[in-house]
Symmetry: C2
Subunit: 382 residues, 2 copies
Amino acid sequence: MKTAVLGFGTVGAGIYEMLSQAKGLEQGPVLVRPGKDDAPFKKTSIEAVLSEPGVEAVAEAMGGIEPAFSYAMAAIKAGKHFVTSNKALVAAHGIELSAAAREMGVGFLFSAACGGGVPFLHNLSIAVESDDIVSLGGILNGTTNYMLDAMQRRALSYGEALKDAQKLGYAEADPSADVSGLDALRKIVLGSAVAYGILPTEGLYNEGIEHFTDEDVKRIQARGLTCRLVAKCAAVPGGKVYAYVEPVLLKASAAECSVLDNYNLARYEGKCSGPMVFIGQGAGRWPTASAVLRDLDCLLKGRLYMLASDCREGSADNEACRHSYYVRLPGSFTGCFEVKSYSESDGVAELITKPMSVKSMHELATRLRAEGADIFFAELEG
Amino acid sequence: MKTAVLGFGTVGAGIYEMLSQAKGLEQGPVLVRPGKDDAPFKKTSIEAVLSEPGVEAVAEAMGGIEPAFSYAMAAIKAGKHFVTSNKALVAAHGIELSAAAREMGVGFLFSAACGGGVPFLHNLSIAVESDDIVSLGGILNGTTNYMLDAMQRRALSYGEALKDAQKLGYAEADPSADVSGLDALRKIVLGSAVAYGILPTEGLYNEGIEHFTDEDVKRIQARGLTCRLVAKCAAVPGGKVYAYVEPVLLKASAAECSVLDNYNLARYEGKCSGPMVFIGQGAGRWPTASAVLRDLDCLLKGRLYMLASDCREGSADNEACRHSYYVRLPGSFTGCFEVKSYSESDGVAELITKPMSVKSMHELATRLRAEGADIFFAELEG
């Protein structure tokens, strides 16, 4: 199956190279920016790419929403299968693209968009055909995992860990989408769409790692716990889902604690299958290209969709998800919590809350921060 | 796709029930023993099952080699897709069954036969289409993992751990295939067949957990290590593979150490994808049935094979794989080892060997045991 590639950056070049080795697949033209067409296979217009004889599939690795969305629609309407690693594109237009692909009888797969090389969405999309998904989630951002791991295992400060991640190419010059948990949130909504047929666009919450300090590391290590940034999602009554990202404190035996450096972990629990955990590289040229090639192999073998035909946008209900939190904040701000346990030292309080909703905790933190409080909070698992 | 089920035990009944809920699949007849046909869908002969109108696929969950093999061949020759969770059947006749299925243009999948519910062979079989597999392996036997975990985390003796596993239904009355590592070995050879197109039948080695005592637990915990029973396989020069099972001592940060109770972990490393780890339930009604349903969904979508058409039997070369071992044995038997470090207390020696081949270590242990030595040995990772 001759496959065109849109974009010739880190991932696109990886896809192009892997196509030459893959069984049943063949290198097609590559879309590059004007002036970068220094080889015959490089084209500078989507029309030239799509009109090349024999192209049956298009793999997009440009990133961003436009022009990726216009090109995706053009490819699908020209009767080409479409595969992408672009989470922003799928979060914004996945339902529309899937519907257009179904109408044209071509495939639309995006397993590289959540978890990178980790075959999470692929397996989840098969599981939903015969099993009920109880919940899903995991460590879906490698940059923040690298930083958290460096802070806890190598005792780096937040700033040192960030600088290290940038030096290694794991973090952007502007790391805000990673450290705020927004990147992980964009990925978990794709999991929700695959698992529950609901792509939530409202009522979502993301707490990142910006408030986690080296003093916090010492405090949670004294409790024998490890911090990871985790996305979680499940169906709740009323045809909704909860979906959020927040730091979670885990016991050493949790699989999440074995996820070091910039690795990802994704998991789902099936009613029949039980818990399923996947660990691998969430980003990078070859892991991401591998995931795109996996999707292309699926197309070749006849598996065309990860989204059900009735998948729809919806809103998240994070009031429905309740658990205890660990909160570190100034002692003077602790009055608004119902606490299970409490300690204070030098004006800094650590408390364990009674179970409260995700929505309440995230909104309370926003309010107290607006009042000037420096707060770190994390879900307490188990 | 109407699917017949062979066998109505733990797994077969699970498959039958899941078929009623699965998209695109439909319950067909079930083969039971004579006298057990107490419902119209239960048939007592393979002919009656295969001649039922509309049956397109057969899922086998009887276990054992005969009559499973005859029935499999009958199903394939009658033009039915064939799916199985039966590792003994695939290890003995997988290549023959795959060839027959290709000849008939029907599918042959067996992802439930290695790792139970863990989607290891499924993902591996996709990865090989575009990536080179550097190595594969993991914790492929839940019974022994349950026992090792109970001994190390709950300080049970070997006998108590075994009794516990039997009480919970994890271990057979005769647990020898589990505790000797033979069960895990039968599974890793299937991984080899999928990854490398070589199903090794000779030159294999398996060391189990029978020689691991509660005193050994204390000794390795004093070193900060955890013991797991691990299968490993990789290609070696000369068109061969190494493939073996042995205890491995791991640092706490290894993903294997997060695998508790009777869970399984399977992993492969792709040249492009990097390390991929899968954790889940390796056995039990619903996890195993889920894996069979996953294979049926693949058939439905057009993915028909996990074995390449040129897959062949071969012999393993465990001389080609070398590493250091931890060995606990009587001080009087240590002369035949080249040691890196050594300690002895009350006549019991602990030593770390210089790198030596898997074949040498396993054969040396066999020889020294024949001379009366009580030996525990384990691979030292890293």
